[in-house]
Symmetry: C2
Subunit: 200 residues, 2 copies
């Protein structure tokens, strides 16, 4: 997120560089390190708070991890990396990322799914929303103004390669305060999209 983060100085943003991202796990053999989110980092994000606390007590599993590479926060640069959302549920709600708007709201983001499967849930401040299925080879264009959240509805890690403008920034606060309008839950072994009872 910050140009001064732990990965930024490892790469030559001025003259170019290559980096490996495993096409199945999403992880890099390079010096880059992921940012990691466990269930204990996700309080307030899932509908079933008791189920979340039980997971936290019983091993606190990792929900997702992703690369913050520290791209220059300039409009001509690009932030890139992979995002890996692990399979699991909190109650009947699928493991997911926090999701965020961009601080510069009018900036898009692109995710190309390489392994696993799930959904990208997007919504704009005016309430337009949609849920897009992702699987290997499927790309989603998240347009300017849309918050976006990765949701793993499968049984293996879901890995996407992402790209957005270097200065776009992350606004996590709006989603933390309001939540998303919709939730993805399992019902009778199928994915169901329901209203978020806690949406403000």
């Amino acid at each position: 997120m910050s140009g001064a983060n732990k990965n930024a100085e490892k790469f030559n943003w001025k003259q170019g560089f290559t980096i490996d991202f495993d096409m199945v796990t999403g992880l890099s053999k390079s010096e880059a390190q992921t940012s990691v989110r466990f269930t204990s980092n996700m309080r307030g994000m899932f509908a079933d708070e008791a189920a979340l606390e039980e997971l936290i007590t019983n091993g606190d599993p990792m929900v997702y991890e992703f690369y913050e590479m520290g791209a220059p926060e300039k409009e001509g640069d690009l932030a890139i990396g992979t995002s890996i959302t692990y399979p699991g549920k909190v109650g009947n709600e699928y493991f997911m990322t926090r999701g965020h708007f961009h601080t510069i709201l009018e900036t898009a983001e692109v995710y190309y799914c390489l392994s696993g499967n799930g959904y990208m849930l997007i919504e704009n401040p005016e309430g337009d929303w949609s849920a897009h299925e992702l699987f290997p080879g499927e790309m989603i264009y998240v347009p300017p103004r849309y918050a976006h959240r990765s949701i793993n509805t499968g049984t293996v890690p879901m890995m996407t390669f992402f790209c957005f403008r270097g200065d776009a920034g992350h606004d996590y606060g709006t989603i933390e305060t309001k939540g998303y309008r919709k939730l993805l839950v399992e019902k009778d072994g199928k994915v169901e999209i329901i209203d978020n009872p806690k949406w403000k």
Copy 2:
């Protein structure tokens, strides 16, 4: 290249969309169509002009194709697609893309290689250049100000997924006039980087 191109209206750039890109061939089953470059479109690009004319006469093979999706030409949007460079040689010089600067020079581009192998050759107007090897799982960050050209040094198609700012634009003219400072040729079965004898 243009927002008014044949693909632009097929996709919902305002509210988001998904599209498939085959992770081996790079091709999409969607309505999107590729832009195609044959050897006959590559006159003046390779050192050995006689060898090029012979290829044009003998079947005019495809050198590369790529998706111009018609993203809005705005600074908040992103142009995305795949680029597929086919294996082959003109004389001893490997098949490659024309390569280009961005019209807005200070904009980066990202390429994530999914199949095949080769190089990305980059250089800036001041003459700093480098050749970066690509293979499945390897991403290259092409920084602002650097022209970039994909080169297939392998025996199967080289496919990359790319992303850059929607309004960056393509400047092909500078490369067509000046050429690149370096060429990638095969010598004794190996890749060799040599000075371009025609560089102006």
